[in-house]
């Protein structure tokens, strides 16, 4: 019963009633897009349906359709027995994972020849990769129990065949290999001893697999762990003696949909289509019960309670994904504070606030919230997986945001973790150190944006950032960063005057120059130096603003308004009556064409090469943005 979810791809929604008709009209649609193809692929498709869709996709690709946004992939298949039956299902399943697949099968039982012959159908097709889908029956494997030397030689021979295939398809076809591990058939000769006696089939297959795994980590090759897949559904199901005898099917036809889906996921991962973020509903998904009704004491994630432990299993799985760099987010119809409470203080809650990069708990529809999460994290909707126990919510998301993967769940939370992972959505072809740290960098950015979308208005949002702005005259400490900003800033730069570091140093001592270096801190950290201003005295009561630039990182934070306040303060203190600004078009600073107008300056004619002049009386009163000002180290 438990293997069932794998055999039928039970995490996928049912195929539409008119599946065949939709496939047919897709085949005849001159504007068929990859989106429609994936929509049809993202369902529980049996062999017959996979075959229909796979045929349509193959035809569309053969007719030159690109099927954007699916990524093209050309795969050669060297297999055991009858591989032709695999092709359409594999093509259809690849579309489920974002890949427009063209698959080419080698000749029956000719893997090595197809690889070594530069003129073979596989090599001449110039595939991106070649799947080496052999099983033990295509290799020179015979059981030699109790003959360790012979057994070692068999393992060595097999390893050489794999190495030869990899080397040849690289040389002749320019492709890397996807290497399948070998499943071990259930027929035991000794029984348990098969595992330890050298030369049994079980022993040989185990060692050949070690060599395959090793080879798959070299030269850009990739591993497809079919042994694990067979074990998942049981080797007694996987290996069907009848189907082998009658049709030379290396594994049972009933598992073709599963095999094709796993392979599709791997190809998707190779094309960067793996999902990056798991979004979890809370009530009856993350925990049993409804936090808003049942309260902290009422929700169930109790150890020792069947339902509670089921929900904890999902939390555990989510945490394991988090550890390998998958982002976790929350979408829940709840009051934010109420929803966060268990994450903060429920003693049995495993997932805590620090694990969540985006937290959307409100009463808006979930589609908007999920779209907001994608936007916050700056990742595509096709990077998201959404888990919700409520079939209505699941359906709404599938309708509104078809790119989001929404696993079907049963009413029993016991298998939520299994269903979520069975989707194969997070398939990876490599695991790097950076992956682990990914969560943190997304989190800082996401929090910023989260605040923005929740804030009632801009002013409150800015206030919530708790900004602290630091003004200092040019000094030795800031010198090189000042010079760097002066020479690198293009967009938010009024005059684009470049000065060398030694010229900047001279300004420090120039009594006719007024200088400002500006740093900005907020509740999320220090943004460093983000703005530079240089004014030059003209006569006794005018400051000409020679340079005003700002880092685009702090756009929209009212930093320029605060800088103006500071300029006015110093100008008045120096007895200056008027500020004169200038915009000199550089081709890249159109962003600041209206900078002075927005700050309340009056236009004062045009100069050469399209530049504009602006003037402002130092009596000017402007509203002061809500941020703390630190002037030369002192709060004012």
């Amino acid at each position: 019963m438990q293997t069932n979810i794998f055999e039928t791809l039970d995490w996928l929604p049912d195929a539409p009633e008119d599946f065949r008709q939709r496939c047919k009209s897709l085949a005849e649609d001159a504007n068929a897009s990859g989106r429609e193809v994936s929509a049809l692929a993202n369902a529980k498709l049996d062999n017959n349906k996979l075959r229909v869709l796979g045929g349509v996709i193959a035809k569309l690709i053969a007719n030159g359709r690109t099927l954007h946004p699916l990524s093209p992939f050309k795969l050669g298949i060297l297999g055991t027995g009858t591989t032709d039956l695999l092709l359409p299902p594999v093509v259809a399943s690849a579309a489920r994972h974002g890949v427009a697949l063209e698959a080419i099968a080698g000749h029956y039982e000719s893997a090595l020849q197809d690889a070594l012959d530069s003129g073979s159908v596989i090599n001449t097709a110039r595939p991106d990769a070649v799947l080496v889908a052999l099983d033990h029956r295509s290799l020179p494997i015979t059981a030699v129990p109790g003959e360790p030397e012979l057994a070692d030689r068999i393992v060595e021979d097999c390893a050489q065949i794999y190495a030869a295939i990899c080397g040849a398809v690289r040389q002749h076809g320019g492709a890397f290999c996807i290497l399948q591990t070998l499943a071990s058939p259930p027929e035991a000769i000794f029984g348990s001893l098969d595992r330890s006696v050298p030369g049994t089939l079980e022993w040989i297959i185990g060692r050949v697999n070690d060599r395959i795994i090793d080879l798959a980590q070299r030269d850009g090759n990739v591993l497809f762990d079919v042994a694990r897949l067979a074990a998942t559904v049981g080797t007694a199901n996987w290996f069907s003696p009848q189907e082998w005898n009658v049709a030379k099917l290396a594994f049972s036809y009933g598992y073709v949909p599963l095999y094709a889906d796993r392979l599709g996921g791997l190809l998707g991962a190779l094309r960067g289509k793996s999902r990056k973020c798991l979004i979890l509903d809370l009530d009856n998904t993350m925990w049993g019960g409804v936090i808003g009704d049942d309260g902290m004491a009422g929700i169930n994630m109790r150890q020792g309670d069947a339902t509670g432990e089921a929900h904890l299993t999902l939390q555990q799985a989510a945490l394991e994904l988090h550890k390998r760099g998958i982002l976790l987010a929350v979408s829940s119809k709840n009051t934010d504070e109420v929803a966060r409470e268990p994450f903060r203080s429920h003693p049995e809650m495993l997932v805590r606030e620090k694990h969540i990069v985006a937290f959307q708990a409100n009463w808006r529809d979930k589609a908007s919230n999920i779209a907001a999460i994608a936007q916050e994290l700056n990742i595509g909707l096709d990077s998201l997986v959404f888990m919700d126990d409520n079939p209505v919510e699941r359906d709404q998301i599938r309708q509104a945001l078809p790119q989001v993967l929404v696993p079907e769940l049963s009413s029993d939370p016991s298998d939520y973790a299994r269903r979520m992972l069975a989707t194969n959505a997070f398939e990876a072809v490599a695991f790097l150190q950076e992956d682990k740290a990914r969560s943190e960098s997304y989190k800082a950015n996401a929090q910023r944006l989260a605040l923005k979308s929740d804030a009632i208005n801009m002013e409150d949002y800015l206030a919530s950032l708790e900004m602290e702005i630091h003004f200092d005259p040019f000094d030795e400490t800031g010198r090189s960063r000042i010079a760097q900003l002066i020479n690198k800033s293009n967009q938010y730069n009024l005059t684009t005057r470049r000065y060398t570091e030694s010229e900047v140093a001279q300004l420090e001592e120039d009594s006719r120059a007024f200088t400002l270096q500006v740093r900005l801190k907020d509740k999320f950290g220090d943004n460093g130096m983000i703005s530079v201003v240089i004014c030059r005295a003209e006569g006794d009561d005018v400051w000409q603003i020679d340079t005003w630039l700002m880092s685009c990182r702090v756009l929209g934070r009212q930093v320029e308004h605060m800088v103006l306040q500071e300029l006015l303060h110093h100008a008045r203190a120096a007895g200056v009556r008027r500020l004169v600004g200038e915009w000199r078009p550089s081709g890249r600073n159109d962003m600041v064409r209206d900078h002075y107008a927005k700050l309340g300056f009056t236009a004062d004619g045009e100069g050469s090469e399209g530049s504009t002049r602006w003037t402002l009386s130092t009596d000017h009163e402007a509203p002061r943005p809500r941020m703390t000002v630190i002037r030369s180290g002192v709060s004012v």
Binding site: R20, N47, N48, R51, V52, G55, T82, D84, L85, Q242, E243, N245, V246, A247, L249, Y253, G254
Partner: protein
């Protein structure tokens, strides 16, 4: 669904042709898609749907739809 209807549905799905109307005298020549490979698919789907197993010789000895119906019935398929 009668055995005949069930079998007809399998034929329609396997050969992706909703217009197929089964006749006992029907052979592989009557259905364009019915080649050796799709014959294997057909037999696997029939075997799954009726909960019966076919030996290698049975699979290859069938000559028409009537033979298949008789074989399913003989094996007590439902």
């Amino acid at each position: 669904m009668s055995q005949q209807e069930k079998l007809q549905q399998i034929f329609r799905d396997v050969f992706d042709d909703p217009s197929i109307e089964l006749e006992p005298s029907m052979t592989a020549d009557d259905i364009a898609e019915w080649d050796s490979l799709s014959h294997v698919r057909l037999m696997l789907e029939v075997s799954k749907a009726f909960g019966v197993r076919f030996s290698a010789s049975e699979v290859s000895s069938l000559t028409n739809v009537g033979d298949l119906e008789a074989l399913i019935a003989a094996k007590g398929g439902a």
